[in-house]
């Protein structure tokens, strides 16, 4: 095995996998589509129904997996009693069958080796792979301390490995879900209301009268219950106001679409505050009783008139006033939605603060149709010895960002690059359930860091790009093939859901909990894993919670009554917000003390130079991150992304619909692959747009390889949020190449 010069290996070679006959399931019902109805009925009777919750995204909807006698998942249907999905999965959940069936899945452990000077992977047994990993755990601890072994993770497998790492003595743990996604809104709302937004968001969309989406595109992001509730809101004739430079799906459902100039949201929000305060249409009683800093805010926004904002945002003053009044009219049943992926421009905590302040002025926090007080039920901790105390951890690594509430992935990665100032050397890395080469921008830095590592192990179900950098690759079985931790999330009413294996793991794949335990057992941490099957853990926990695994297998989801407090504030209730002042902090002393603006200010961000367009990116409803691009069912719905360009731009450059183009960004980085042009009036002329998660580098992803452009590859300039360390990714500009830039090299 080689550990230096970590070259990307496209997982392949050396007899990997062999020929696994892909069973064609579709002729199951025979050739006769009419008679097949009867056959279908018969077969339907034999389908086994197993309780699970989805892992295709983070919403974790509870569902029933239907499998046949051949150990094949036939379909997956939402659990009617689940507040995450109300019995209706999204396309990705329904298409979860493809995650299981994907013939490109990782099939066996792989170990990096060199043959004839070429780095490649060879198949290995679990014992060999785990022994090797265990030896590295011991070795790193002896040489540098356990803290130097870092974990980057996402989702359910991440939880099991987090336990392993903490038991081992390392809390050098981070996930892209924070600094590269929703961290800024958690910080911004926490500063204002003393409470995280969390997931699912406690937005009372179904009962709202006015939903304000600022760059958040519900309907393209399929955050299931939110999409459903937005639909209910449409039925209820709620006003939707969407602020987006692109006519998103949500914008098309909106009474008001404010086609804002990118990167100017804060100016619009300051103008809204100006109107709401000047016209005295804020919730006076609420502001008086529950907030602090109103006078300072009033003074602060006095000059931020709609006319001022017009010059910045390109939104007409009359529109700004009208929409502000609509919000106030609907208040308190109004939601300025905090969004989810908000790591945009580096002032994202302040942007989230502006949203939070608007909600405070309109009195929507703790009100019906605004934000409800969320509640969850805590799952009893399965007994284990205390975790050792690491000498340093994620918070030390992120110390220059005072309000980072979780590990900052990019900072942890930087620690892998040796330097004199690096007090927190990261020498080994485990990556679980996250394709960091697609979720983390600035690939050069990432590759440099990975190159410096002494050891890197990746756990995934698919040969994602990141696996190509690993020394050891472990094939995880999918969520449909394993037990997992109990899902307990915040909601209107607490609920739990269980995940029970519907079928046996395909190939030689194993559950994340098993991998964690196997490593733990090998490095003397057996006391932390006192079970032979994770089933025992959840059985014990469920019993403590007054139910049982047997019951949960039958019902899948259990809802519990609220015990904390009512869902909304009572009339004139004396309520202390969990902030330092006990009030909603319109003016933040905490920020002031840390040397930041106590109230949001608008900062002008760089604009694209001539011939360049701002690169915006977003979601397609049938895909999750870069994780689902190869899923046969979901790939069938959307196999590549497109470059959205305004017809004006198309005319100037001479672009035609469907034409393949390449992109080059402001730093001279050219896209590896091409992308097909989509000429559409749905986008502004100063920006281009693509769906995130395409342009896969690994040929082993046979359907996804080379399809479309990876937006993250074009993101080489990032703007750090000084407050919480978020990675602003919307400040990259691209120019469109109509000629293949690699043509010459081919000759």
């Amino acid at each position: 095995m080689t550990t230096s010069r970590r070259k990307f290996i496209k997982i392949s070679a050396l007899g990997l996998g062999g020929a696994f006959a892909s069973t064609s399931a579709f002729s199951l019902f025979g050739n006769n589509s009419y008679l097949s109805e009867k056959t279908a009925q018969n077969i339907a009777k034999n389908l086994k129904k197993t309780a699970t919750y989805c892992e295709v995204c983070f919403w974790k909807c509870a569902a029933w997996a239907y499998s046949d006698e051949n150990n094949t998942i036939k379909k997956i249907i939402g659990n009617d009693n689940d507040p995450h999905c109300y019995g209706r999965l999204c396309p990705r959940g329904t298409g979860g069958v493809g995650m299981y069936a994907d013939e490109d899945r990782l099939k066996t452990p792989l170990i990096r080796t060199t043959i004839d000077g070429e780095e490649t992977f060879r198949e290995a047994s679990w014992d060999e792979a785990l022994d090797l990993i265990a030896s590295k755990f011991k070795n790193i601890k002896e040489k540098y301390g356990a803290e130097s072994f870092a974990l980057l993770k996402h989702g359910s497998p991440g939880k099991h490995l987090e336990h392993l790492f903490k038991a081992y003595g390392s809390d050098t743990i981070a996930e892209p879900a924070y600094a590269q996604c929703r961290g800024a809104r958690e910080a911004g709302f926490n500063l204002t209301f003393g409470s995280w937004i969390g997931s699912p968001e406690p937005t009372d969309i179904r009962d709202t009268k006015c939903l304000v989406l600022i760059g958040s595109h519900i309907g393209e992001n399929m955050h299931n219950s939110q999409v459903q509730e937005m639909s209910d809101a449409i039925d209820n004739k709620a006003t939707i106001i969407t602020v987006d430079p692109r006519l998103s799906t949500a914008a098309s459902k909106s009474k008001y679409w404010l086609a804002i100039k990118p990167a100017t949201d804060i100016a619009l929000m300051l103008a809204w505050m100006n109107v709401i305060i000047k016209e005295e249409i804020y919730d006076k009683a609420y502001v008086e009783k529950y907030t602090t800093g109103f006078e300072e805010l009033k003074k602060h926004v006095a000059n931020f008139t709609p006319e001022w904002a017009y010059g910045i945002t390109t939104i007409q003053p009359a529109e700004i006033r009208k929409t502000a009044r609509e919000m106030a009219h609907a208040a308190p049943a109004v939601i300025i939605h905090p969004g989810r992926h908000v790591s945009w421009y580096g002032d994202d905590t302040q942007r989230a603060r502006a949203m939070a302040i608007l909600n405070g002025l309109l009195g929507s926090w703790g009100r019906r149709g605004g934000f409800y007080f969320k509640e969850k039920i805590s799952v009893p901790k399965y007994p284990h010895p205390k975790y050792p105390h690491p000498k340093w951890d994620w918070s030390d690594i992120g110390e220059k960002f005072p309000l980072a509430q979780m590990g900052i992935t990019t900072e942890v990665i930087k620690c892998a690059i040796p330097s004199k100032d690096n007090k927190y050397p990261v020498k080994a890395l485990m990556v679980a359930g996250t394709n960091i080469t697609k979720s983390i921008p600035n690939k050069k830095l990432l590759e440099k860091a990975m190159n410096e590592l002494e050891f890197m192990v990746v756990l995934d179900t698919m040969p994602m790009d990141v696996t190509g950098y690993a020394d050891v690759v472990l094939p995880e079985c999918t969520y449909l093939e394993r037990y997992d931790g109990i899902r307990s999330a915040t909601n209107r009413e607490p609920s739990i859901a269980v995940r029970v294996p519907a079928v046996k793991p395909k190939y030689d794949s194993k559950p994340g909990w098993w991998v964690a335990k196997q490593i733990g057992d090998r490095i003397g941490l057996s006391d932390y894993f006192r079970y032979s099957d994770y089933k025992e853990v959840i059985e014990w926990q469920l019993q403590k919670m007054g139910t049982s695994l047997d019951e949960m297998k039958k019902i899948g989801v259990k809802n519990f009554p609220r015990t904390s407090r009512p869902l909304y504030l009572e009339e004139n209730e004396d309520y202390e917000f969990p902030t330092e002042s006990g009030k909603i902090e319109l003016y933040s002393k905490e920020l002031e003390n840390l040397g930041f603006d106590p109230m949001p200010v608008y900062t002008k961000h760089p604009e694209p130079p001539q011939g360049f367009y701002r690169l915006n990116y977003g979601r397609a409803p049938m895909h999750t991150f870069s994780r689902t691009a190869n899923n046969p069912n979901l790939n069938d719905l959307k196999s590549e992304n497109n470059l959205w360009v305004n017809p004006k731009v198309a005319r100037i450059i001479g672009l035609k619909k469907g034409q393949s183009v390449w992109l080059k960004n402001q730093d001279g980085v050219t896209s590896t692959f091409s992308i097909k042009v989509r000429v559409t009036e749905r986008i502004r002329w100063d920006s281009v747009y693509m769906v995130h998660g395409f342009g896969h580098d690994n040929k082993k992803l046979t359907r996804a390889f080379g399809k479309g452009i990876n937006d993250t590859q074009m993101i080489t300039k990032t703007m750090d949020d000084p407050i919480m360390g978020g990675t602003g990714m919307r400040g990259n500009f691209v120019t469109i190449l109509t000629e293949n830039p690699y043509k010459k090299q081919a000759i």
């Binding site: 399931a25 579709f26 002729s27 199951l28 019902f29 050739n31 006769n32 589509s33 009419y34 008679l35 097949s36 109805e37 009867k38 279908a40 009925q41 339907a44 379909k75 997956i76 249907i77 939402g78 999905c85 019995g87 209706r88 999965l89 999204c90 396309p91 329904t94 298409g95 069958v97 309907g219 393209e220 399929m222 299931n224 999409v227 459903q228 937005m230 639909s231 449409i234 039925d235 006519l247 799906t249 949500a250 914008a251 098309s252 459902k253 086609a259 409803p621 049938m622 046969p632 069912n633 979901l634 069938d636 719905l637 959307k638 305004n646 559409t680 009036e681 749905r682 986008i683 502004r684």
Partner: protein, 177 residues
């Protein structure tokens, strides 16, 4: 009994869940579909209108596919559902050509296939798979002969349209606009 589907374009987000739910329910091979999403964009930035909708066989009362089928494989059953008896289908493709909605495709096994309104589910008292999965609840299904059914009420109270009315097919899929 006259089955109809009513789809609210004001709520549809075009997520394609109906497509994948149909595929898994009806074992539609990957690469084919019995239903699909269309997107129409009108206007000039920033005065743009977008319509998203889920389309499929319209189960026409005056079905050109049934009329032109040389073997009788395409036929209408109770409730007005247009079906294809695969055993009787010779795969000539006349029905595919005749359909103004492009709703039929040739199954890799040779016969012509299309939406059945999930006939097998209806018999069990279940809704079509697409209707039951839709996260926006924008799809409604029921009996047009019953004036109190959800579909009848929606068509009575809401502005709606059908696709290609000029084809004179009397379709049973309606779109609220």
């Amino acid at each position: 009994m006259r089955y109809a589907m009513v789809i609210d374009t004001l709520k549809c987000v075009g997520c394609s869940d109906c497509v994948v739910a149909c595929q898994t329910e009806n074992d539609v091979p990957i690469g084919y579909c019995r239903d699909w999403i269309t997107e129409t964009v009108d206007g000039t930035y920033p005065n743009v209108v977008l319509e998203l909708k889920s389309e499929r066989c319209n189960h026409c009362a005056t079905a050109p596919c049934v009329r032109c089928c040389p073997t009788g494989a395409s036929h209408i059953v109770e409730g007005g559902i247009v079906l294809v008896t695969a055993d009787e289908c010779i795969g000539c493709g006349a029905c595919i050509e005749s359909c103004p909605y492009d709703a039929r495709y040739q199954h890799p096994d040779g016969y012509v296939d299309k939406c059945t309104f999930c006939h097998h589910r209806l018999k069990k008292g279940q809704l079509p798979a697409c209707v039951s999965v839709c996260p926006t609840k924008c799809m409604y299904f029921g009996d047009l002969d019953n004036p109190n059914s959800e579909v009848s009420m929606l068509l009575k109270n809401r502005k709606h349209k059908t696709l290609a009315p000029e084809a004179g097919t009397n379709p049973h899929v309606f779109y609220l606009i």
